[in-house]
């Protein structure tokens, strides 16, 4: 098997990388793909909490890197979806416990066993970021419609281009329909104009995400959540299907506005 290794990063913290990684991994798994979500935020691990797998951790990424266990043993299999897996970060160590070389080796092994390896990276552009991108075939940049998040995303894209990563995609998270209509939020065309990379999806602001993340439930597995729907669409777009960039909900005004926006755009 030759799977795809996709790193999720942003530069800025708190934009939704971990929630994205957890939910897109779950959505891919639900579509029948064998998926593993990897937490590289050594020292500040969160992915296990969002995925509701915290109490099942025995070994972690650093144990694998330092040879205390085989990769197989550290990977946790989700009980809700048989094809969903997670590789947790260590909580009691720091970023220096992992190196880009070690990550490349682990990614090569995961690539041979999983259809999709989704790597959740820490915030920042230091060693943790370098570790997270070392083995990536593709990179997803998560940003919110805030000037500071977009500035950091641009910085990260520059670093990825310097590292010769060719496939870089953009996800705009936490878009507020009402604010967009009032013109209070940064325009999507403006964001695309500056970042100039391919748009993979738009995720609407969704309060239920807070609740599901706190409970370790995955929104992508619930039909009712608009954000969950967006994660599912992104998973389908990753598989090359023609899913909408923005989920259909009761908000027809926003939908019309988006339709206008993307008219004539090759997306």
């Amino acid at each position: 098997m030759t799977g795809r290794v996709i790193t999720v990063t942003s530069g800025k913290g708190g934009v939704g990388k971990t929630t994205f990684s957890a939910n897109v991994s779950a959505a891919l798994a639900e579509l029948g793909k064998k998926a593993v979500a990897v937490d590289t935020d050594v020292g500040l691990r969160n992915l296990d909490i969002v995925m509701g797998l915290e109490n099942r951790i025995v070994y972690d990424l650093v144990d694998v890197v330092e040879g205390r266990c085989r990769l197989q043993k550290a990977i946790i299999r989700d009980k809700r979806i048989a094809t969903l897996h997670m590789l947790p970060a260590a909580q009691t160590r720091d970023k220096s416990a992992v190196s880009p070389d070690a990550m490349e080796k682990i990614c090569a092994e995961l690539r041979s066993q999983f259809d999709f390896t989704i790597i959740d990276s820490p915030a920042g552009i230091e060693s943790g970021f370098q570790n997270a991108i070392a083995g990536a075939d593709e990179v997803v940049i998560v940003t919110t419609p805030h000037v500071s998040a977009i500035r950091d995303a641009d910085r990260v894209i520059g670093l990825l281009e310097a590292a010769e990563k060719q496939q870089i995609f953009l996800v705009i998270n936490r878009l507020q329909a009402a604010m967009v209509r009032r013109g209070d939020m940064l325009d999507i065309p403006d964001i695309l104009d500056i970042l100039a990379i391919e748009l993979l999806g738009i995720i609407p602001e969704d309060e239920s995400i807070v609740v599901s993340s706190n409970r370790g439930e995955l929104a992508a597995l619930h039909a009712a959540s608009p954000a969950g729907q967006a994660y599912k669409n992104i998973a389908r777009r990753l598989l090359g299907e023609d899913a909408p960039l923005m989920p259909v909900d009761e908000d027809k005004g926003l939908l019309k506005w988006l339709a206008r926006l993307f008219k004539g755009r090759a997306l």
Partner: protein, 224 residues
Amino acid sequence: MSKPRVKLSGTDYGLLLRLEWDSPLSQLLVELEEYLQQSPKFFAGAQVLLEIGSRPVLQQDLEQLAAVLLRYGVTLQGVVPILDGLERRPPPASYATFTPAPLDPQTSLHLEQRTVRSGEKVAADGHVIIMGDVNPGAEVIAGYNIFVWGALRGSAYAGVPDHEEAIIAALHFAPIQLRIAGHIARPPEARPSASGTPELARIDENAIVVEAWERGRGGFYKRG
């Protein structure tokens, strides 16, 4: 960041400059500049050999490297093949040497065909042309003129250090900050977003002014 792409080490026959040649030259130039900036006094007056291995190197690339070195008082003595393990021995007798002619910054041109993103810096002694955008948080620095064939949304410093006749021009002119020679300007808060026509900034009576680029006026800017 990753390992340094620029390294100067002492050998028995002088300073040896090693570059990570797989990186783009623009990046190497910026990092070399940063390296030299750390201790300018230490390097002033030094002579260096450049390690190029067996790869072909363009004369214009060598000239650009030599120009950066020269700015810190460092002379490029010549080029040598890979010297790994030879540090404590004399250099091979057959190595080729090359002494670049001094570069005239007023006629040299640095072309960058990409989007310069936040945190990136493009710097050259002569004129700089960017084919692409200059994003917010990016810097372009030139000894003479700067042309952006795209959107200028970052910072541009032309005429460094004291060429007052330098101009900054862009198709879409929306910089965060401009500097020409010793003058600094930022767009007024109330300025509507860029007009949609190409514009340029120049010094007029000791202040930076921004105006539309008019066809047929090119010669007017050829001053000094």
